[in-house]
Symmetry: C2
Subunit: 124 residues, 2 copies
DNA sequence: CGGCATCCTAAAAGATACTG
DNA sequence: CAGTATCTTTTAGGATGCCG
């Protein structure tokens, strides 16, 4: 048991398998950010979700949280060395996405127009 | 509009952002597989989910489907060149996961035992 | 054998309101 | 400012059964 991981990939997915985590790591890879900055960077994410995923990332040793214990609050997030190595492993994937952004955008549009109403029925 | 991609990463997540797709791509990276082989390789995945994700991957130009049009059916899946390049971009991440499998397994155990208050009561 | 249709559950995500 | 609590919505995933 317990690493039910069939390959390194689902091991990764275990810690990164949620909508915003890769983005969080990506943004923190550039620099340390305060909570509010991070929220704005990541985009349209709610406090609940961001705080929750952040907490998990901290628990998983990927993100470090530094609380200045002030009023008003001041909390900074950054990557741990472990998280940093992860962010580097993401680089290749990120570059692939950037490189194929055009194709991916087309794909996105295509599935956006026919996802529910019409299954993609690739008659092939 | 429509590539609301803030970086290459969510572009990738758009096509790979589901539980089994990375694994499917991973297994097909080794060799062409028949539907049944793939299902067994991937692990505990239902037909509905596998077929669905496979269809999306085909629609997205990542996986190629070859139907021999026979009875009994014989269908083979393989990566397209596009999918192949994606699988290579996943390599680094996969290696990271493999390399850190031990830490990740610990993390998995920890979150399994004490994440919220009590574990996911999934008797499974 | 390789699916697809239906139904169902669990988990993720989101909106909103409120607090130290 | 940085969250937490609560509720609702959305989505993914799974079990089963049928059909070509």
């Amino acid at each position: 048991m317990t690493h039910p991981f069939t390959c390194g990939l689902d091991a990764v997915l275990f810690v990164m398998g949620s909508k915003w985590k890769p983005l969080i790591v990506y943004h923190l890879a550039h620099r340390t950010l305060r909570y509010g900055e991070l929220r704005r960077s990541v985009g349209k994410v709610s406090d609940k979700v961001l705080a929750q995923q952040l907490k998990e990332l901290v628990a998983d040793g990927i993100v470090a949280r530094r609380d200045f214990r002030q009023i008003p609050p001041h909390v900074e997030y950054s990557l741990t060395p472990f998280g940093s190595s992860l962010s580097q492993a993401l680089t290749q994937l990120c570059e692939w996405g950037t490189h194929h952004a055009a194709e991916l955008a087309e794909i996105a549009e295509r599935s956006a127009s026919g996802t529910k109403g019409e299954p993609v029925t690739s008659a092939q």
